[in-house]
């Protein structure tokens, strides 16, 4: 019902309200207000200004692809299986966007997912995942590994 009417130009007159969001790559997306309300940053603005919802609300830090993923996640009530199809970059983008949009449930969900993913992983995996340059000399690193040998047991394959 919502889908057929979403196309209509008079969407704001219909029962299901939609808010237009403008992503960093310039795509205008109409999003159901129930989903938008999870985004504290947009919600606070809408509530205060009671603005015309057809004027796009700019989200300069969120790409259309990321926003798509977020909307699907919220629609699927944070489905683990759906999230498992995400690439590492997508996970990180959704994380950063969830923080920017101030979506508490999503941030909690995605941070927990990443934490579970990383928990048993090697140091090399972490560096790759976050794109961190190793600035230890080989000697320094060997020394740290030697003194903390106990933490390097029972790891997953990368």
């Amino acid at each position: 019902m919502q889908k057929t009417e979403g196309e209509e130009s008079k969407a704001e007159n219909e029962e299901v309200k939609q808010v237009t969001l403008m992503t960093s790559d310039g795509v205008k997306m109409k999003v159901e207000i129930s989903i938008v309300y999870e985004m504290e940053i947009v919600r606070s603005f809408i509530e205060v200004n009671d603005a015309d919802h057809s004027v796009p609300f700019p989200l300069p830090n969120v790409s259309s692809h990321t926003l798509d993923l977020i909307i699907e996640l919220v629609k699927n009530e944070y489905d683990d299986e759906f999230m498992k199809t995400f690439s590492h970059d997508e996970l990180k983008e959704v994380l950063v966007a969830a923080n920017y949009l101030n979506m508490k449930t999503l941030l909690d969900f995605i941070a927990t997912a990443i934490a579970n993913l990383l928990e048993k992983k090697s140091v090399e995996f972490i560096r790759n995942f976050f794109n961190i340059v190793n600035d230890f000399t080989p000697e320094e690193e060997a020394e740290i590994r030697k003194t903390n040998e106990w933490v390097f047991q029972d790891l997953d394959e990368d």
């Binding site: 889908k3 057929t4 979403g6 196309e7 790559d25 795509v27 997306m29 830090n61 790409s63 259309s64 692809h65 798509d68 690439s87 970059d89 997508e90 990180k92 983008e93 994380l95 950063v96 923080n99 101030n102 941030l107 909690d108 941070a111 927990t112 990443i114 934490a115 579970n116 990383l118 928990e119 048993k120 090697s122 140091v123 972490i126 560096r127 976050f130 794109n131 961190i132 340059v133 190793n134 600035d135 230890f136 690193e141 740290i144 590994r145 903390n148 106990w150 933490v151 390097f152």
Partner: protein
């Protein structure tokens, strides 16, 4: 909708291909790391130099502790292993369940034990941090050390606490308001009068402080050896008065306020053996009367006498163990209406082993289960187990990240008169200490963040000797009368008399504070130059330091810091870790700063130059020349507001320079203004200018627009960045500049 969806789908591929690893700010990284077990975090310290210390970031430690499960109690035990080696003891973490199911596994689990030195006793466990104590062989001194079994890091031994007679009654607690761990020792200071004194050691300090007793009631005896920590208080069973007037109370010490009060015991509890424990989040009391009965009480609501509830009352005849033993509750679990109390008995059986050491025996004698509808059902399972268990402590906390984090305060104290140490360390707001001022012939003064005026540290004047001592301890002062303390970020500045003698010192506390970067991290991504202005002490240098670290470590830029008075990177030739991988160039003479800036560009190929305190025309020109080469500049300048920079002839070049323009008559009339007007001469060196009105209230100018508006006498639009009550950064765009009042 469908067509729209497809259209978006087609740009997905492009979006993914173009995606770069997004920059993850520290606070978001903490959201992830706070959900990862300590063992894995210890492994991640290997990731990079920044991560090796980031894992112990105070905010992360706090968040991690909040997220840690408090549901599974941990049993801490020390046991001896190896037949002959006296030093081989190990600390074990296990659960009461495991102890019951398979007692030997708890103490014989050497593979998972943590080796520690012998003769240590567990004072207490707080947030998973263990405090161990050790008595000198002559029994006149005691010292402690702190142990984190989760990170396996431990502190050095503390200074010792002298004991005149008797033994020290100790306890270990945590003050959440200042994030401080404290050990309290009640010791007898006078053998004749049996006067008891309280001494406190903060984790990280090097002295025991004496707590003043108020003149009225004070315990004549503290009967319990180890106090129990609950609700920010430490609690011991104690005696008040002597002889006929003797009474039993709970001596309760407030860890934050360092004051004490007394709580009452259940009415029927008097003479006999009493001890406190913490079970089910409540203070509990177990009481043994003449080896006839064992009662177990719970104070359901802390400090409320009426809430004492009797949970268990057993006649001694049901106990199947020798009468001289003292039963101690180990765990209380509420499972529906079933309540189970486990008892653990420690006894030293006088059986001398061939190698001369005593063997300690443990009886796990009984698991009593209580159902409200059933009478006592004692499962007598008396199995004397010959376990070598020395002592046990019990905590309802869990493994955590708490780190023995010394601040650099000790280094600063080294140069101050020793009688000030006490006073400085004892201040509850010591983490807010900004500076200590020593002026000849005046009282030494401490200034704290957020407080107007100073606070005298004692009521005698500073002497010449003390200043000379400080001067010697600091070492050489630079031409600018400043010096640092090696390896720290502290700054000492001197005031000299006409003949060159030091007559005043300002000792500024430097802290590697992080966590301000989220105020501007989106600005950093533009790759534009930023100038910071604001009153002294507002946190400009701290921000410089953090920007240097983020740009170099996280955005992978080549950053060079021109560090005029070694304030950004700290004193000493190896810069402080807080600047990350950024390189630091020291400046021999402050007047040469501009030359070093140019030298940095010519020799070291930087992408970013960080420079503190741009103050002269030469430096302003050097900045322009650097900016013209396409290098990002991050700098600070003196002045509180943008107007101060515009009106300062030597600095106005930073914002484009000001010139006077004479307009033609027609033009002046058209503009409706005077014939001579001020105009900006050139594009500004710094694209953004941030006015730091307060630590958490910043105004961001787009320099060119704001300067033009101000010159025309209009109020420009600025972006306000501030923190809300939850410390989250809030950005308000397009605010009128003249309406921004902090």
């Amino acid at each position: 909708m469908d067509s729209e969806k497809r259209m978006r789908g087609s740009c997905d591929a492009a979006a993914v291909a173009a995606s770069v690893c997004p920059f993850i700010p520290d606070d978001v990284m903490m959201e992830i790391l706070s959900r990862i077990p300590v063992k894995a975090l210890m492994r991640f310290r290997c990731v990079s130099k920044h991560w090796s210390s980031f894992v112990f970031h105070p905010n992360l430690v706090k968040l991690h502790l909040q997220r840690s499960s408090k549901d599974n109690p941990i049993l801490y035990t020390i046991s001896e292993y190896g037949e002959y080696d006296d030093d081989a003891h190990s600390l074990h973490l296990s659960s009461p369940q495991r102890l019951l199911q398979n007692p030997p596994s708890v103490v014989y689990d050497h593979a998972n034990g943590i080796p520690i030195l012998s003769n240590y006793d567990i004072v207490g466990v707080c947030n998973g941090l263990v405090c161990l104590s050790r008595m000198h062989n002559d029994l006149d001194e005691i010292w402690v050390r702190f142990w984190n079994p989760a990170t396996r890091l431990s502190s050095e031994e503390s200074p010792s606490c002298y004991i005149e007679c008797g033994c020290a009654k100790m306890a270990f607690g945590y003050d959440a308001s200042t994030d401080t761990y404290k050990v309290v020792a009640a010791v007898m200071s006078d053998a004749k009068t049996h006067r008891i004194e309280l001494r406190v050691l903060n984790l990280g300090d090097d002295c025991w402080r004496e707590i003043a007793r108020s003149s009225d009631d004070f315990p004549t005896e503290i009967s319990q050896t180890k106090g129990m920590f609950l609700n920010g208080t430490l609690n011991w069973v104690a005696e008040l008065g002597t002889g006929e007037s003797k009474s039993y109370v709970i001596f309760s010490f407030d860890v934050a306020k360092e004051t004490y009060t007394f709580l009452t015991l259940p009415n029927v509890v008097g003479e006999g053996f009493s001890e406190l424990g913490v079970f089910g989040g409540c203070l509990c009391l177990y009481h043994i009367y003449r080896r006839e009965s064992f009662t177990f009480w719970q104070m359901k609501e802390f400090g409320v006498h009426q809430s004492w509830t009797l949970l268990m009352n057993i006649n001694y005849k049901y106990f199947q163990f020798p009468r001289y033993l003292i039963p101690r509750p180990l765990c209380l679990s509420a499972d529906g209406n079933i309540l189970i109390l486990f008892l653990l008995f420690l006894v030293n059986i006088q059986s001398r082993k061939p190698n001369g050491s005593y063997e300690l025996l443990v009886f796990i004698s009984m698991a009593a289960s209580l159902s409200l509808s059933l009478p006592w059902n004692l499962k007598a399972a008396t199995t004397p187990l010959s376990l070598k268990l020395k002592c046990g402590a019990f905590s309802e906390g869990t493994c955590c990240l708490v780190h023995n984090d010394h601040d650099d305060m000790q280094a600063l104290l080294q140069i101050l008169p020793s009688d000030l140490h006490h006073n400085l360390l004892g201040q509850p707001n010591r983490s807010q200490l900004l500076e200590v001022v020593l002026d000849l012939g005046r009282f030494p003064e401490a200034r704290y963040l957020g407080k107007h005026g100073g606070h005298y540290l004692r009521n005698t004047e500073v002497t010449v000797k003390e200043l000379e001592y400080a001067e010697q301890a600091v070492g050489e002062f630079g031409e600018d009368n400043r010096a640092g303390i090696e390896g720290t970020l502290h700054r000492i500045s001197a005031i000299r008399s006409r003949n060159g003698h030091i007559v005043g010192l300002t000792c500024r506390v430097g802290r590697a504070i992080t966590g301000q970067i989220d105020m501007i991290y989106d600005l950093l991504q533009y790759g534009k130059s930023i100038l910071f202005v604001g009153r002294p002490g507002v946190g400009k240098t701290t921000v410089m330091r953090e920007i240097a670290r983020v740009l170099s470590d996280e955005l992978h830029k080549r950053v060079v810091i021109v560090d005029t008075s070694n304030e950004i990177g700290g004193d000493g030739n190896i810069p402080h870790a807080a600047i990350g991988g950024a390189r630091r160039m020291q400046v021999r003479e402050p007047s040469m700063q501009h030359r070093v800036m140019i030298e940095a560009v010519e020799n070291h190929m930087p992408e970013v130059i960080v420079v503190d305190e741009i103050g002269t025309e030469m430096e302003a020109h050097a900045c322009r020349s650097i900016a013209e080469r396409g290098i990002i500049l991050i700098g600070t300048a003196h002045g509180q507001k943008l107007e101060n920079i515009i009106k300062n002839p030597s600095l106005s070049d930073l914002i484009g320079g000001i010139e006077t323009v004479t307009l033609g008559d027609a033009e002046a009339r058209a503009r409706n203004c005077q014939k001579t007007i001020l105009e900006r001469k050139a594009p500004p060196t710094f694209d953004f200018l941030i006015e730091m009105r307060d630590r958490h209230y910043w105004l961001t100018h787009q320099t060119d627009k704001s300067v033009d508006m101000l010159l025309r006498g209009k109020s420009p639009q600025v972006e306000v960045r501030k923190r809300d009550e939850k410390c989250k950064v809030v950005v308000e765009k397009s605010k009128a500049y003249d309406k921004c009042q902090f």
